[in-house]
Amino acid sequence: MKALIVDDSRAMRLVVARIVQRLGFETVQAEHGQAALDVLAGSDELPDVALVDWNMPVMDGLELIKAVRAQPRYRGITLMMVTTESEQSRIVQALAAGAHEYLIKPFTEEALEDKLSLLGLVPATADAEAVAW
């Protein structure tokens, strides 16, 4: 499994990368939406999931999600917004644009793992199974 981590904060990219690497993902990183599109355009092996911050310079996460969703070649990529934007209206906006999941910063390692397991990207945790039931 491969994860693309898109965040303008190098610290946050590393925090997310450490978590998903422990879960068995290879990671690639991009510092904003346009850089992420460049990574995808140059990839022979597309990521299984993209973990996308919202507020970034050059191209924000919402624009990135719309751009990815507009490309049939990228339809197999699961998109998760990982952001400090926590209003209900923003969550609705991101999901409407094509995000599959939404995680609000700050988050725990367990919360990220639960979201990935709900998406079927890692084996289900006990917490995620409880939510599913």
Partner: protein, 165 residues
């Protein structure tokens, strides 16, 4: 209700600011003691960051911590050997902390608001007078968070910023 007349203690509350920082600390360093509220205490040799909220409420969120603590956070987050963090590492950490606090504060404020990109500085960032302030003790270091309404957002009233170190 204008930004200047909104009661930030009612709508946000100093305890919430403490919780946001504590949740962030728990997220970054799981299993470590959570930061706790303490009476006002200035960080030594402060550095900081600000982020603006505009829309239904206009104002600024300011973060202050000591240079030493910003350096410690950078070393720990980037897994760097002691003494090898560079300015960009500290700026990245300051920016992300204020971004997370600002985003969580924004969600509590009335109206449809936008968050600016963070503006970290390796210098003191003194918040404007008034507003809501909280100091948390993160490990042994004080970290200050302030939220201050901007009575004239169109004037782009920025907090006073000290000289670079």
């Amino acid at each position: 209700m204008s930004a200047a007349t909104l009661d930030l203690e009612d709508v946000v509350g100093a305890a919430t600011l403490v919780d946001i920082v504590a949740d962030l600390a728990e997220s970054l360093f799981p299993g470590e003691p959570r930061p706790v509220a303490v009476p006002h205490r200035d960080p030594q040799e402060p550095v900081g960051a600000r982020i603006r909220i505009t829309g239904g409420w206009d104002g600024v969120v300011v973060l202050r911590m000591s240079w030493t603590f910003a350096e410690q956070l950078a070393h720990r987050l980037f897994l760097l050997p002691d003494g090898t963090a560079v300015d960009a590492d500290l700026l990245d950490v300051l920016g992300e902390v204020v971004n997370i606090v600002g985003g969580n504060v924004k969600a509590l404020l009335p109206g449809d608001n936008q968050l600016s990109l963070p503006h970290p500085r390796l210098a003191d960032v003194v918040p404007p007078a008034g507003g809501l302030h909280a100091t948390v003790l993160w490990g042994v270091e004080p970290v200050q968070i302030s939220i201050t309404p901007d009575p004239a957002p169109e004037a782009h009233h920025h907090p006073v910023e000290g000289p670079h170190r």
